[in-house]
């Protein structure tokens, strides 16, 4: 990185509003020539919105983008590319059944008298890729090479067409360790050539390995830009999860509840390639929080528990009796409930009524032939809607017309209606307004007091700390720590997520 | 008849014939590219062709094209490669034959078309054996004109599939026969798609629309299947088909002879499945004496009525695969 050099591209006070939601709120960001600048944040933090503004896919509602100091307005990504900003996505969007050379120059083939000069293209392709340390047959189909090679070809094409700034959007997500090393070698070469590189990823270790600076976004706001040599992984995780250590209030007084009998127990449950075997017992009246970054295996663990993905090892017992859970229907029969992370995709039945959405799991549990009649349905839906304060004009309206918070409460009501033994909540407060947010948290506390066993996955450390009796931490698809008592503090959780050896870790669980 | 007896008889007949009239075809290899087996009539044509060939001692190579021209072209090329003495083709479509027929011509193999014509230069094939569809309609019409004589007769017509050539031609022939006889008139005409079910449904509608069928004197169906359907509709309406309403149709499939036996149908014009007989005769004359046959050999459109030993005709046909 050239210290103090003028930024090649710069965003100042960017605001982007979708409907009533401020996706970006006064965000500043810059990349200098010869710098690798990592962009971090959990889902919904605003990373992709910012990138789309920098590459011309979106127009900002406020603020400005400067290219080499001069304000610019890109009409579309092609325009941005012409001005020197190229992008490579996780999914390579080239043509797998065309040759490497064709892919490199597609749409820009050197021609003579209008005829594509194949030989010239191939020679140039070989030269170009040699500059990336890649010596392959450029006449072969692109699809015949590994994803890593395809990524590098995509990078070469992007750099060839732009040349000032390269945006890498999760380029390493589907690569193995060696391939990542190869990719980083290419990034190093480009950096040495003076390109500004924006690197988006979920892998913290890669950020520390390759990047010079990091900018962290959360909920559409700029949390900070740091020089990586001056911060630790713990600092970064803390910034991402929004937990200021000064606020630390270890063990908020819910930790005494572990004396109830064990309600559900998972022994060495695991699935190849998804989650390493883990063991966990949940007691009556206990909330176990799950912390970990996106992609750490949090959701995968929950899916295994609920039979969405069948486990390939381990066993599950409920109230001391071993149960067979190979699919969600069996999980529901065992008295499990699951509020999935993606409400719209896996949770609500948009066209069905609020009433039907509430009684559906109970009905599924009762079976095809023990139908709840309409009066029973109205009664049940009414009771739970009242208990959870679901705000709907009436219970016959399609649930898709409700707000996100009310939809979440409908799904919660659906599971409470089956009188569950065990409830899994995956990001229960994501994407809902602050008022509903607090209500969900209150409900979790109430359910605990009523003796339910809950597993709550959340990126909101404040929240997890507020209602959890215990917290398990996931990292790299493995349960790496189990925290209880005084360890239920954001600082300890952050340390565990960041794998900071200095942090207190009470128990190592799992393989 | 037992199979043994049948075989013995067939062998005897073929021995008799091969030693006499068709000396030159005996032992010859002839290829036959059939369209498929989309209808009972088509199945009957296949079985009649096979039995005619057997009678003459011909080694018939049979290829079922399953309704695809490319299969037929493939089969014909195969026949050419095998060096057959002649090729019979029932063409599935009328265009696109020039190339493969030229190959046959260059290989000096005569080609005979069965029951359908093609759009290609006439020198590419030896002859075409087919029925005259207009004549079929005409024969049916003539019969009705003669039968009702001077009486007034309102006719309903069950057409074949809209736009198909048999539907167009059989309608035209029938109308031609009626021309000049003012006492006969077609009062309703609808398509029954050549099927029994549609024939029945359309006839039901006609009966309702014509005062329960009291005004209808005859039904003319473009094929026997629709007539069989119409007969059922007439019975359901409480009328006697064959008596209250005359039934005349075309094709001569076994079921219409059964209707004759039951007194429920009055006339049918046979579309003979024996296209191969005339074809072999023409071929024999060509190969022995070099007699070039007529370009279009028209098969007989024979009228059958219940007077023509309906039971016997039914028995003769029922084994042919209709």
């Amino acid at each position: 990185m050239v210290e103090g050099a003028e930024p090649v591209v710069q965003a100042r006070g960017i605001v982007k509003i979708f409907g009533q939601h401020r996706a970006l709120d006064g965000v500043d960001f810059e990349v200098r020539p010869g710098e690798v600048h990592a962009l971090l944040g959990e889902n919904g933090a605003g990373k992709s919105t910012l990138i789309k503004i920098l590459t011309g896919a979106y127009q900002p509602d406020g603020g400005e983008v400067l290219l080499e100091g001069a304000p610019v307005r890109f009409s579309d990504p092609l325009d941005a590319q012409r001005h020197g900003i190229g992008t490579v996505y996780q999914e390579v969007n080239l043509l797998p059944n065309r040759s490497v050379a064709e892919n490199l120059f597609l749409g820009h083939q050197p021609t003579r008298f209008g005829i594509v000069q194949r030989k010239v293209i191939e020679a140039r392709a070989r030269d170009l890729l040699a500059g990336y340390g890649l010596e392959i047959d450029v006449k072969a189909e692109l699809g015949s090479y590994s994803v890593a090679v395809q990524q590098i070809v995509a990078i070469a094409r992007a750099v060839e067409l732009s040349g000032k700034v390269l945006v890498l959007d999760e380029p390493t997500a589907s690569l193995d360790r060696n391939e990542v090393a190869k990719m980083f070698e290419v990034v190093g070469r480009l950096k040495a050539r003076g390109l500004g590189i924006i690197f988006i990823t979920h892998f913290l270790d890669q950020v520390f390995e390759i990047a010079d600076r990091v900018t962290i976004l959360r909920n559409g706001r700029l949390i900070g830009t740091k020089v990586l040599s001056e911060v630790t992984a713990t600092d970064v995780v803390r910034m991402m999860l929004g937990k200021d250590l000064a606020f630390d209030h270890g063990g908020v007084g819910v930790a005494e509840a572990m004396q109830g009998p064990v309600r559900v127990e998972f022994k060495s449950l695991g699935r190849q390639g998804k989650v390493a075997p883990f063991s966990l017992a949940l007691h009556e009246g206990e909330v176990v929080g799950v912390a970990g970054l996106l992609g750490s295996g949090r959701t995968e663990m929950a899916r295994l528990m609920f039979g969405v993905d069948p486990a390939d090892c381990g066993e599950i017992s409920v109230g001391g009796r071993v149960v067979n859970i190979r699919n969600p229907a069996q999980a529901v029969a065992a008295g499990f409930g699951f509020c999935p992370e993606d409400r719209k995709l896996d949770g609500i039945f948009g066209d069905l009524s609020v009433r039907e959405n509430i009684i559906i799991a109970l009905q599924a549990k009762l079976g095809w032939f023990r139908a709840l009649n309409r009066d029973e349905q109205i009664e049940i839906a009414g009771n739970y809607a009242e208990a959870l304060d679901i705000r709907a004009a009436n219970h016959e309206m399609p649930v898709k017309l409700l707000s996100g918070g009310n939809q979440q409460k409908v799904i919660l009501a659906r599971w409470l209606a089956i009188d569950p033994n065990f409830l899994i909540l995956d990001e229960p407060t994501r994407g809902i307004d602050v008022g509903a947010h607090a209500e969900i948290v209150r409900t979790i506390n109430r359910l605990r007091e009523e003796g339910l066993a809950l597993l709550v996955i959340s990126s909101e450390l404040d929240e997890v700390v507020a209602y959890s009796n215990r917290i398990v931490v996931m990292r790299d698809r493995e349960m790496v720590a189990e925290l209880s008592g005084a360890d239920i503090a954001p600082s300890v959780i952050v340390a565990a997520i960041a794998d900071n050896p200095g942090a207190k870790v009470t128990a190592e669980v799992g393989a | 008849m037992s199979i043994i007896k049948k075989l013995a008889l067939a062998a005897g007949v073929s021995a008799l014939l091969s030693s006499a009239a068709y000396a030159d075809l005996s032992g010859k290899v002839i290829g036959f590219s059939q369209i498929g087996s989309e209808s009972g009539w088509r199945a009957a044509e296949t079985s009649v062709t096979k039995s005619e060939a057997e009678k003459l001692g011909i080694d018939l190579k049979f290829a079922d094209a399953q309704q695809k021209q490319e299969n037929q072209i493939k089969a014909i090329r195969g026949f050419i490669a095998q060096g057959v003495a002649a090729i019979l083709v029932a063409p599935v479509v009328s265009t696109g034959w020039e190339e493969v027929l030229t190959e046959a011509k260059e290989a000096n193999i005569p080609v005979i078309l069965l029951d359908r014509g093609i759009d290609a230069p006439q020198d590419l094939y030896l002859t075409s054996v087919a029925s005259d569809q207009v004549k079929e309609g005409h024969v049916a019409g003539d019969w009705l004109v003669k039968t009702v004589a001077d009486k007034d007769c309102k006719i309903v017509e069950l057409q074949g599939t809209v736009g198909s050539s048999p539907a167009i031609n059989r309608k035209k022939g029938f109308e031609d026969a009626l021309a000049g006889h003012a006492n006969l008139s077609i009062i309703r005409s609808q398509t029954g798609d050549f099927t029994r079910a549609k024939g029945k449904e359309v006839m039901e509608g006609f009966l309702k629309a014509e005062d329960g069928g009291k005004g209808i004197c005859a039904v003319y169906a473009h094929n026997d299947d629709m007539a069989v359907g119409a007969i059922q509709a007439i019975k359901d309406a409480g009328l006697k088909p064959g008596t209250d309403i005359l039934v005349v149709s075309i094709d001569g499939v076994p079921d219409i002879f059964q209707a004759f036996v039951a007194g429920e149908a009055n006339a049918t014009v046979e579309l003979t499945p024996n296209m191969a007989g005339p074809a072999f005769a023409a071929l024999d004359a060509y190969l022995t004496a070099g007699t070039v046959p007529e370009k279009f050999i028209i098969t007989e459109s024979k009228l059958y009525t219940p007077a023509d030993d309906a039971q016997g005709e039914y028995d003769r046909r029922k084994g042919l695969g209709y």
């Binding site: 229907a329 599924a364 | 079910a197 039901e204 006609f206 629309a209 005062d211």
Partner: protein, 332 residues
């Protein structure tokens, strides 16, 4: 139980369309609504509409459930041909009618089961999965009949197609029993709700503990059963199994009936009775064309024109516009 708003229900576009088509038929042919008793059997054009509409109505009953799950079954026409062929070949081979009918229905169930397994466990898109049997099924039927129309004289099979019960033709009786039975089953049990849930969001259905796989198999199997029933009626009607033509293109009429009945191809909410009304609209149109005396060249043009009109009337845009016009009218 559902409280039914009869006035609202009768003002639905489907009923208005049916009334309009019947009205036009009456104008074209004044005797359209006449019904007489003929050999102990009701006889008249309206009865024809019901009787001829029965096979498609029965297909539409099964198709409604399939479409409600966001699927489609293109094979029902071919399954009709197979069922008719099996029954006809068995009775002509000397089996009793009970065996023949039982075997035909069983074959229909198996065809449906096959479709269900392809869709559910092999996760083939319904339109492709059922296309397999649509194409191959007719070939199978032709193999069974050896390419010819297998005529039979078994009184039981013929009774299914042309008999009558208390003066009502059997196809109407069978369709009514199936329609009422299926409606009661889906509404009195939880099946209706679960089918709608799977159709609206299959993933959410799975997360809610609904065994959507089994449900889908049952739905396709039921569609196969309906198709076989329809196939028996059509064969009985003409006293023969016509493998080439039985049920040809009827799957499209059945899909159209379901769509006219207001069930979306995107799955979810469905109504079996309204699909039956859809089938009757189509048949009323067919019968109308038959008695109108138009030249057959106009059949398809008239039919498609009327269908477009019905679908436009049913479109949400149109109903919004109509509602707006009506409320404006009231305001004045």
């Amino acid at each position: 139980m559902r409280r039914i708003d009869w006035r609202g229900a009768l003002l639905r576009p489907q009923f208005m369309a049916l009334a309009a088509v019947l009205g036009i038929n009456w104008l074209l042919f004044p005797g359209f609504f006449d019904i007489t008793l003929q050999d102990g059997r009701l006889f008249g054009s309206v009865i024809d509409v019901l009787n001829r509409g029965a096979p498609v109505a029965i297909l539409a009953i099964g198709m409604t459930a399939v479409i409600a799950t966001k699927g489609v079954d293109l094979s029902v026409g071919a399954v009709m041909a197979i069922a008719g062929a099996v029954a006809a070949v068995l009775v002509t081979g000397g089996s009793s009618a009970i065996v023949a009918v039982g075997a035909a229905l069983l074959v229909g169930l198996l065809c449906g089961l096959w479709n269900g397994i392809l869709v559910t466990y092999l996760e083939i898109q319904p339109i492709i999965a059922t296309l397999v049997l649509m194409v191959a099924g007719r070939g199978l039927a032709q193999l069974v009949t050896e390419g010819s129309i297998v005529t039979f004289s078994d009184p039981v099979l013929i009774f299914i197609g042309t008999g009558s019960l208390f003066g009502m033709p059997m196809p109407i009786v069978i369709a009514a029993v199936l329609a009422i039975g299926a409606t009661l089953i889906v509404r009195k049990t939880a099946l209706g709700l679960l089918i709608e849930a799977v159709g609206v969001n299959r993933s959410a259905a799975r997360f809610s503990g609904i065994s959507s796989g089994l449900l889908l198999v049952v739905v396709y199997t039921f569609a196969g059963f309906c198709a076989a029933t329809s196939g028996l009626i059509v064969a009985g009607d003409i006293r023969g199994a016509d493998a080439n033509n039985a049920g040809l293109w009827l799957e499209l009429d059945a899909i159209l009936a379901v769509v006219i009945g207001g069930t979306s191809l995107l799955g979810g909410r469905f109504s079996i009775p309204m699909s039956v009304v859809g089938a009757l609209i189509i048949q009323a149109m067919n019968t109308g064309i038959l008695i109108s005396g138009f030249s057959p060249e106009f059949n398809l043009v008239v039919k498609s024109g009327v269908i477009i009109l019905i679908l436009v009337l049913q479109a949400p845009m149109t109903s919004q516009w109509l509602r707006k016009r009506m409320s404006e009218g009231k305001a004045q």
